[in-house]
Symmetry: C2
Subunit: 191 residues, 2 copies
């Protein structure tokens, strides 16, 4: 395997990611071939396989990168799961989903499922890391913390996703007003 810190490797991987994101804006995921990606990235097809097993692995990484680009600094650095952090997580998740469905042609079920799973996972990890940073009220039980993070992430994601089909979907304050109390009460942080 290649050395992930070699500048050539960093550049090549970035080229591939950028090319893939550009392609997603004009083609469906299923219709994109490795050849397409290699051409768009101006790299050799064989080189692609030195970095990614297949386009699914690439999608995974791109999804993760996009998540990191969208997460507000205050959330990433948060020491505690406050109202404000909760709101930002809800809004960001909603925005992420909206962007993804608007920019990419979600004509592929396999892609939609992969992206959904990935975002949920990233969300859960983010929440868990916040729980762990602040000496949390949830107690020291690592298992319990993980489950609470999983539930919270899933709840936020599920609501944000559902909101796509709501009539007032532009009114994100409506979404926040419903989700925040639910999550905070569930965590025993209710006001």
């Amino acid at each position: 395997m290649v050395n992930q810190e070699d500048p050539r490797v960093l550049r090549t991987r970035q080229l591939i990611r950028t090319a893939f994101r550009a392609l997603l804006r004009r083609k469906g995921f299923d219709a994109i071939t490795i050849k397409d990606i290699a051409q768009e990235a101006t790299i050799n097809r064989a080189t692609f396989y030195a970095h990614f097993e297949d386009k699914y692995a690439l999608l995974d990484e791109v999804t993760e990168q996009a998540f990191h680009e969208m997460i507000p600094e205050r959330v990433a650095d948060a020491q505690e799961f406050t109202d404000e952090i909760c709101d930002q997580l809800i809004l960001m998740t909603h925005q992420y989903i909206v962007d993804f469905y608007r920019i990419c042609r979600m004509d592929s079920n396999s892609m939609a499922k992969l992206v959904d799973e990935k975002i949920k996972k990233m969300l859960q990890q983010t929440i868990e890391s916040i729980f762990l940073k602040g000496g949390t009220h949830l107690g020291p039980d690592r298992h319990r913390i993980k489950i609470m993070a999983a539930m919270t992430g899933s709840a936020i994601y599920g609501a944000a996703h559902y909101w796509l089909n709501v009539e007032e979907k532009d009114r994100t304050d409506g979404l926040v007003d419903i989700v925040r109390p639910y999550v905070l009460n569930g965590l025993g942080l209710g006001v």
Copy 2:
């Protein structure tokens, strides 16, 4: 020497050019080192020398690239040296000079001289190529055509450069109104 059509070479050279242009916006030419360029381009310093002899060669290429980016298509494709083409050459040259002096810190005499010479040369080549494409009224004498192109290019460049110090320098129509008749009359194309 490296193969100029290898995709790696094309990418590397582009990285170097882009890095150099970025550096020129925040440092004087004399203050820019090869190390700076290599760092900005995320390439190795030794790699720089595989592509350019020194930063002067790079400046030459970047100047030429910028010229090609600015030249209007109608001028590049022109079959004849018409009034309109003449006007566009004047305006473009003026714009090029203005941009260069605005964007780059022209604190280096060596740089200013190199850039000036290069633009003049590009201008003369462009004009000569137009003369050669249209069965010109200048006759078949290649030598004569070259001199006419050199004079025309120098005249346009000189005027555009002088215009930097004119009070109404924003009024480029004033520049055009002076240069166009001069050049066209000189070429025996007067109206």
